[in-house]
């Protein structure tokens, strides 16, 4: 019996949408207020969905304490109260939530306790993003 398990984590970070590929006028035109040179911030929610068979001995798809420990080390400790633009992963990439979703998907591919299905990130209560690898399907179709 295959079950999907979803766990939500929260972190707060600043960022600025800006690319050296554009001049300052174009950065301003494309990214608008997100291009403010001083940056701005969000309370991000990351929803990690894993799947697998339920282990008859534990009743679990994966051990939640192990998942939480992995998330603490690899997600919260790395991203919380940081400036995303200063992190190595955004050295050559715009720190959009699209790119953040792909980066966090890559991170959770390193969790070996269950199969990674999807990363869903809420940047604000009105904006959310999903990445499920190259075969990403529409939300709600999994």
């Amino acid at each position: 019996m295959k079950v999907h398990l979803s766990r939500r984590y929260h972190f707060s970070a600043s960022h600025r949408l800006h690319t050296e590929a554009y001049d300052s006028a174009k950065n301003q035109a494309v990214f608008g207020k997100c291009n403010n040179p001083h940056g701005h911030g969000h309370n991000y929610t990351v929803q990690v969905t894993l799947s697998g068979q339920v282990d008859p001995a534990t009743g679990m798809v994966c051990n939640l304490a192990e998942l939480d420990a992995f998330a603490q080390t690899n997600l919260i400790d790395r991203f919380d109260h940081t400036n995303l633009n200063r992190l190595d992963c955004f050295a050559n990439k715009v720190s959009t939530t699209e790119n953040l979703s792909i980066e966090i998907y890559r991170i959770f591919q390193g969790f070996t306790g269950a199969h990674l299905e999807r990363i869903h990130i809420e940047e604000t209560s009105n904006n959310s993003f999903d990445y499920a690898g190259e075969a990403t399907s529409a939300p709600g179709t999994i």
Partner: protein, 135 residues
């Protein structure tokens, strides 16, 4: 195809324990969830069904009928109960969120008039939930 989702809530006690293991092993694997005095949650159940929209009523399913089925099959059995001690399927199965979704699927399958069960989602807390699609 229309997907229709109905929510319900129940509040229950439970603990995690595998009788085949020593107390030390239970504590190591399940942590504070292994406290035999139990603890509890406000669970939120979301049941998603799919079906054909009836051209006369405009319904996939009569929501009152669906609500009555959820009440009879799940809420009336789980709410304000100790899952391990008072619900038959958890005498031999650990009432994890994963197993609760499977148990609720089995309770509901084939009992919803005119609609097919698509997904059972159970929130143990707002930041943890499990989905079962009958796979």
């Amino acid at each position: 195809m229309i997907l229709l989702t109905r929510k319900a809530e129940f509040s229950s006690a439970h603990y995690y324990w595998n009788d085949a293991w020593s107390p030390e092993e239970n504590l190591r694997v399940f942590g504070k969830c292994a406290n035999r005095n139990g603890h509890g949650h406000n669970y939120t159940l979301e049941v998603t069904v799919t079906g054909v929209v009836d051209p006369t009523s405009g319904f996939v399913v009569d929501l009152k009928e669906l609500k009555d089925v959820l009440e009879r099959e799940v809420v009336g059995v789980y709410d304000h109960r100790h899952l391990n001690l008072e619900v038959p399927e958890f005498r031999s199965t650990i009432p994890t969120t994963e197993n609760i979704t499977i148990a609720i699927w089995r309770r509901l399958e084939g009992k919803i008039p005119h609609a097919k069960l698509h997904r059972v989602r159970v929130y143990e807390v707002p930041d943890l939930f499990a989905d079962y699609y009958g796979e």
